[in-house]
């Protein structure tokens, strides 16, 4: 591709991808009167970081972000472990049930979450997991497991030669230690990819978090920023909300920036 075409195309695609978030950052650093100006200017006329300093006292945002992180980490741990074990089993221990299991997993992806919302809620109540981050992590794990299993199945299918495992077994390793000492280190990209997907799901989710947790001590960040939205859908302080939204989005973007190399590697497996 000619160089100018490349640059032009790239600029267009990148701008398109970033447009709403650029506007979010722009709004967060704008002084309040500029925020409501019509027509709005595409470039900032003046920059003020006041929203970013105020937001930490306007809401206990630090605590909310920490809660989001805790839930996300817990979800990743649970979901990735369970999916990885299952995916490994499907690929290495194939039986006549493998197809059925795959179908079983895939069908759960096609169930719209809203349909099972009410019975799921009853289930969580019975288990006493309302109002807890554990309940939230468990719920998110349930939703993350199907996709993770598919992803990891594709990954294990082609990640590394099985001779390594077979050799270890012949040498007297137990199957469990093969898992722990060989599979785990070798499949780090895949596990990382599954973990990032899971963390993303847990971090970004709003409705379920707001429904099953109420207390301020376990509130996650996505629910927290919605405290700015009033009864009639009006935003009490748009600038602060924008700043909070930036604080909410930046960690995951940074996380992806650091980990995206592994993602590309791992995703090559799912196509098979």
């Amino acid at each position: 591709m000619t160089r100018w075409l490349r640059i032009g195309l790239g600029t267009i695609i990148c701008s398109y991808a970033l447009l709403p978030l650029y506007w979010m950052v722009l709004s967060a650093v704008r002084p309040p009167d500029e925020l409501s100006r019509v027509p709005p200017s595409w470039l900032p006329n003046s920059i003020s970081f006041r929203n970013f300093t105020e937001i930490w006292t306007a809401l206990p945002l630090a605590r909310y972000l920490a809660n989001s992180a805790i839930v996300a980490a817990g979800t990743a741990l649970l979901a990735v472990t369970i999916s990885a074990l299952a995916a490994y089993s499907i690929v290495r221990f194939r039986s006549r049930w493998s197809g059925a299991v795959m179908a079983f997993v895939l069908f759960t992806l096609t169930v719209p979450t809203i349909v099972i919302l009410v019975p799921f809620y009853q289930l969580l109540t019975t288990l006493g997991l309302l109002e807890s981050r554990t309940g939230l992590a468990l719920s998110y794990s349930v939703w993350a497991i199907p996709f993770n299993t598919l992803l990891l199945r594709g990954y294990f299918h082609s990640a590394y030669p099985t001779e390594i495992e077979e050799a270890a077994l012949v040498d007297g390793c137990s199957r469990l230690s093969v898992l722990w000492r060989i599979v785990l280190p070798l499949s780090r990209p895949g596990l990382l990819a599954a973990a990032t997907f899971t963390v993303l799901l847990a971090w970004n989710e709003f409705l379920w978090a707001s429904v099953i947790t109420t207390g301020d001590d376990v509130r996650t960040a996505t629910v927290g920023i919605q405290l700015f939205v009033g009864q009639f859908g009006n935003n009490e302080n748009l600038g602060l909300w924008m700043a909070a939204a930036v604080c909410l989005t930046v960690p995951v973007v940074v996380g992806f920036l650091t980990l995206q190399k592994h993602l590309v590697t791992a995703y090559s497996g799912v196509g098979r």
């Binding site: 006292t57 807890s132 009639f232």
Partner: protein, 446 residues
């Protein structure tokens, strides 16, 4: 071969060791779940009690979150400083409040005290096991002061079948809000409204003369405001019949459509369910808000401060009824049936609704009060027409358990009617369809 056996033995031991560790951690996890289950199940099953003093309250968020959370924290702390008080006041965001309450009502995962809306729906959904508590006796004994000091619409909305289930606290009164830069004075009658709207549009190149209040609950509220000018409500007084085939509704919706066509009212304020409810006012695309309320003031403060001094309020223009009729909606604080700390909850409820506290709460929340005693203490020039109208206002929400379904947007028949009317569909057919749908839901719930 011996290698093989010893290898197998080795692996078995390793496996057992590993399995042992796995099952140990599972046991710990299981134990943790049990502990959580014990904590979680308090108060979720049916059957109340008064032994505990732990009171958990859910209220939605109002006004500036920072100020409101600070107030909530301070109040709880002050209350808990007294021996025997144990209050936990949680705040719920509005965006998911409806779903949260509805899910909670499916199995009684409700707190001890709640900030209620659609009260009658909750009473029925709670099936007397975990719904709002009947406090008629306590009210009659005077525990909450003089019941009559609450405006009539508030009294009605807190009751169901002549029993009282909550104490009113805030009232959202709708009247006329206008921008005196675009419209020199308040129109007193509907005819004046029409002519002043036309003038304003011509003079200032507005999108339309005015708007009804927007937002996610706009459709039915817009229609209610207009219907009130014709003196007609959606349901009959006994709440069993739809009034939509009443001639006055036909006149009202015809006027609404005329208003849209003649640029008196902005249709998009009704039909787009998202967005700021006062935006066209705030960026001066319209001159007035028919059925507006004081929530425009903090919005203006935040995004268009220069506008604040020009926003004025007035009673709803007089329509064919010959008098100005405002509309209002109220919310209540209720104790729940299955609360394990009924006495403590009632005590807290008493404090919540005590005028001395209520006036502070209303101030922080930026809400008008349904309590006339508190109203006297929160009077401002802007609020005056609203507070006065509250004495005679019609309820925006009619106190039937079917209400949530009737007005859900865009599903419910009443909201759908409004969307159809403001979308300029055939009024006769729309009214008929809405009437049948409404009656069907009412009959089902009868």
């Amino acid at each position: 071969m011996s290698n093989d056996t010893s290898a197998r033995a080795l692996s078995r031991r390793a496996f057992l060791g590993r399995a042992g560790r796995v099952s140990a951690s599972l046991a710990v996890a299981g134990g943790a779940v049990d502990v959580l289950a014990a904590c979680g199940s308090s108060g979720s099953k049916g059957g109340g009690g008064s032994s505990s003093t732990k009171v958990n309250m859910w209220s939605q968020t109002y006004g500036d979150p920072k100020q409101f959370t600070a107030f909530v924290g301070k109040t709880a702390k002050a209350w808990n400083a007294t021996e025997g008080h144990d209050l936990k006041w949680d705040i719920v965001p509005w965006t998911s409040a409806l779903q949260k309450w509805q899910l909670a009502m499916t199995n009684g995962s409700v707190p001890d005290v709640g900030d209620m809306f659609f009260l009658q729906s909750r009473i029925v959904a709670g099936r007397k096991k975990w719904g709002p508590l009947d406090i008629t006796d306590e009210v009659e004994k005077g525990m909450f002061g003089d019941w009559k000091r609450y405006v009539p619409v508030a009294q009605r909305e807190a009751s169901y079948k002549d029993r009282i289930y909550g104490i009113p606290w805030r009232i959202d009164v709708r009247g006329l809000v206008y921008n005196d830069q675009l419209m020199p004075k308040a129109p007193a009658t509907l005819e004046e409204l029409e002519s002043m709207a036309a003038e304003a549009v011509g003079q200032h190149k507005l999108k339309a003369g005015g708007m009804t209040m927007g937002g996610s609950t706009a459709p039915y509220q817009a229609l209610k405001t207009i219907g009130a000018m014709w003196g007609v409500e959606f349901l009959s007084e006994d709440l069993t019949k739809s009034m939509l085939q009443d001639d006055r509704w036909m006149e009202a919706v015809l006027w609404a459509q005329k208003a849209v066509k003649n640029k008196i009212l902005l249709a998009s304020a009704v039909t787009s369910l998202k967005g700021d409810p006062s935006e066209p006012m705030l960026n001066k695309s319209v001159a007035f808000q028919l059925g507006g309320n004081e929530v425009i003031l903090p919005s203006a403060q935040a995004s268009a401060p220069q506008l604040v001094d020009h926003l004025k309020s007035a009673p709803t223009p007089v329509g064919p009824t010959g008098k100005s009729t405002g509309t209002a909606s109220t919310a209540q604080f209720s104790v729940f049936e299955n609360s394990k700390s009924r006495d403590a909850s009632l005590e807290w409820l008493k404090r919540l609704t005590d005028p001395d506290f209520a006036v502070e709460l209303a101030k922080v929340a930026g809400q008008e009060s349904a309590d006339t005693e508190v109203q006297a203490r929160q009077m401002t020039e802007f609020r005056r027409p609203f507070l006065e109208a509250s004495r005679t206002a019609l309820g925006i929400d009619q106190p039937t358990p079917a209400w949530a379904q009737l007005v859900a947007a865009p599903e419910g028949p009443i909201s759908k009617l409004s969307l159809d009317i403001f979308g300029l569909r055939d009024p006769k057919a729309s009214l008929k369809e809405a009437h049948e749908g409404t009656q069907a839901i009412l009959d089902k719930l009868a």
